[in-house]
Amino acid sequence: MTVLNPTPDAAGASVEPPSDEPQMDRSGRTAARRRKLFSYAILLAFTALYVGPMLMLVLTAFKSLPEFFKNPTGWPESFGFGNFVEAWEKANIARYLVNSVLYTAVATAICVFTSVLVAFPIARGYLKGAKYILLLYVVALFLPPALIPQFQLILNLGLFNTRTGFILLFLVNPIGLIILVNYIKSIPRELDESAAVDGCGYYRFVFKIVMPLIRPAIATVTVLHAIGIWNELVLPTIYLTSENLYPVTRGLIVFEGLYGSNWPALAAAVLILMTPMLVLFLFLQRYIISGLTAGAVKG
């Protein structure tokens, strides 16, 4: 999830006091400078907090196991890709990657698509009790995960240890829905009415007008949801027992040795695991910032 956290620069834009205010007197200017210095110090501390562990992960991935135990925090002796090769083979990444991609892509696509169809009428109040339905989603945010009943349900449906059953676990995302609802509210209602007068049907309106206009929100929800599935470690260990169904995360468990873990190989595997989501994020990034701040659609 590290990738989703706002970069220090983006955070800086909001923390930094407006420095170009004309402040003529000297004391005002030094006060402004001091404030600026202070906020940079805080930002630096946060940056260290985020970058530190990342750096450590990267450095570890280039060390041999004995080297790691001798010098866990220092610089590696050489930058070789031995750990990555080992991780790729031992964790069966090539094989499990197909599963991970399948689960993430299918579940995210279904979740986002259905969420838009649900979010639109809720945002517009086009169905009775829309407010309460939304409230249900908000409540769902605060409930603890219902592991046992969920497990029973999947079991009774005969979907335990199946791809369908596993995908079924990831079809709802309350936060995603709330983001979509709020974003849709920024689309002027007159667009709906104008379309209705012009003879545009409901579904056509949702697909041809609403979807293109809420692209930022869709990108945001897609990334949020995809990363959640991609990085999920607990549910695959519960719901999937056949090796040929494992996602990549499940493969990482091989590095948990009985007598201590193979940290460098694990670090390399984690870096490999991260890469696809990082690429997805970079790809959708230009939409995401505006998706999180829910800008208004200009008429």
Binding site: P188, E190, L191, E193, S194, A196, V197, D198, G199, C200, R204, I209, P212, L213, V297, K298, G299
Partner: protein, 383 residues
């Protein structure tokens, strides 16, 4: 093309609020009718019921010969222009204009031809490939118009289409819309809260207040013979001066002033005789007040003298505010933010007038043009 007939229509919103009370209005084929009234009077509600965007609670609505109470908006053959234009931000101007035609499965070549024709009419040809965000307010407004006219609908419905434009552009677009409507001859209902827009654009103007229709008539007739105090005050700028006065025999006590009424005026309004000795509301249009030194034909006993409080010179005329010691009559316009306690009347003097603030001037009243209303019912007193 078609007529629109609104018959005894009521609108009660789900929260129980009744926004429209028994509205009846006939709009004939090709006519331009303006719905005007203060904010919240139900203009948009009425228009949206015609469009089918709002359910009709009671009454009957016909477009052409067809009763359309329960017909879907898209099947009413109408086009609507919204205040915020409701353009699709992700589509180009051409796509916006052609969208309805595309939905109607009109062949591509014909869509292009009709879009180009509309663009030409609205001088949008150079903007066809742009997105709405790259247009000026006036251009967006024209795109919204274009979207309506390509469809060649039976009727145009417009809800304050000019209120997002600046004053100068508004005047120009006002003329453009009128010209276009005449050229196309499409039945139009146009909603505005601006009485100048209503007067200049409408073949007929319907004045609405609190969900009740007050009067429907041609602009000139509305101005000359308002049916009640509200219409009298709403139409015209500056507003008609409305004061309480006591009617007595052949004259009028207006505060400490007395105005003699000519016999002809009394004969034209026989009902006035029954108000002898009683209070009525009298209305004086600002142009019926003139600097007495310039009004050579001022009638006997039709001059009041008062202190000028403020003058506003407009070049073509001088707007003069002066004190009048009679009680003001509240016309009931929630949008008029003037202070009733300040007994203040407004006159439009000839620019040659030399009057200054603080001076006492003689003001000639054109008594033949006075308006009289019942103080209780606010209805005009005629017969």
């Amino acid at each position: 093309m078609a007529s629109i007939s609104i018959d005894q229509v009521d609108k009660v919103y789900p929260n129980g609020f009744q926004a429209i009370h028994g509205l009846s209005l006939e709009v004939s084929d090709g006519e331009f009718v303006v719905l005007v009234g203060p904010s919240g009077c139900g203009k948009s509600t009425a228009l949206r019921m015609v469009a089918g965007l709002e359910q009709i609670t009671d009454g009957e609505l016909r477009i052409g010969e067809r009763i359309v109470n329960d017909v879907e908006p898209k099947n009413r053959d109408i086009a609507m222009v919204f205040q915020n234009y409701a353009l699709y931000p992700h589509m180009t101007v051409a796509e916006n204009i052609g969208f309805a035609l595309k939905l109607a499965k009109v062949p591509k070549a014909e869509v292009t031809a009709r879009v180009n024709e509309a663009a030409q009419m609205l001088e949008l040809t150079d903007q066809l490939d742009r997105k709405p965000s790259q247009l000026s307010g006036g251009q967006r407004q024209r795109v919204a118009m274009g979207r309506a006219i390509v469809r060649e609908p039976a009727a145009f419905l417009m809800d304050e289409p000019l209120s997002n434009l600046d004053a100068k552009l508004r005047v120009q677009m006002r003329a453009d819309i009128s010209r276009l409507q005449r050229q196309l001859g499409i039945t139009t209902i146009y909603v505005t809260h601006d009485q100048v827009e209503a007067m200049t654009m409408g073949d007929r103007v319907a004045v609405l207040k609190d969900g009740y229709l007050q009067q429907v008539d041609t602009p000139q007739h509305l101005y000359d013979r308002p049916d009640n105090v509200f219409v009298a005050a709403f139409i015209g700028s500056p507003s008609m001066n409305l004061f309480e006065a006591t009617f007595e025999g052949s004259g009028l006590h207006l505060g400490s002033h007395r105005l003699a009424l000519p016999d002809a005026t009394l004969e034209r309004r026989p009902a006035l005789a029954t108000y002898g000795g009683r209070k009525i509301a009298v209305g004086i249009r600002p142009e019926d007040l003139e600097d007495a030194s310039l009004a050579t034909d001022a009638a006997e006993g039709a001059v009041i003298s008062s202190t000028v409080e403020l003058t506003e010179s407009l070049g073509s005329e001088i707007v003069v505010h002066f004190a009048l010691d009679a009680a003001r009559v509240d016309a009931g316009n929630p949008d008029a933010a003037d202070d009733l306690s300040a007994a203040d009347a407004v006159a439009r003097f000839d620019p040659r007038s030399r009057c200054r603030a603080g001076e006492v001037v003689d003001i000639a009243v054109t008594v033949e043009n006075l308006h009289f209303f019942d103080l209780e019912s606010h209805a005009a007193i005629w017969t």
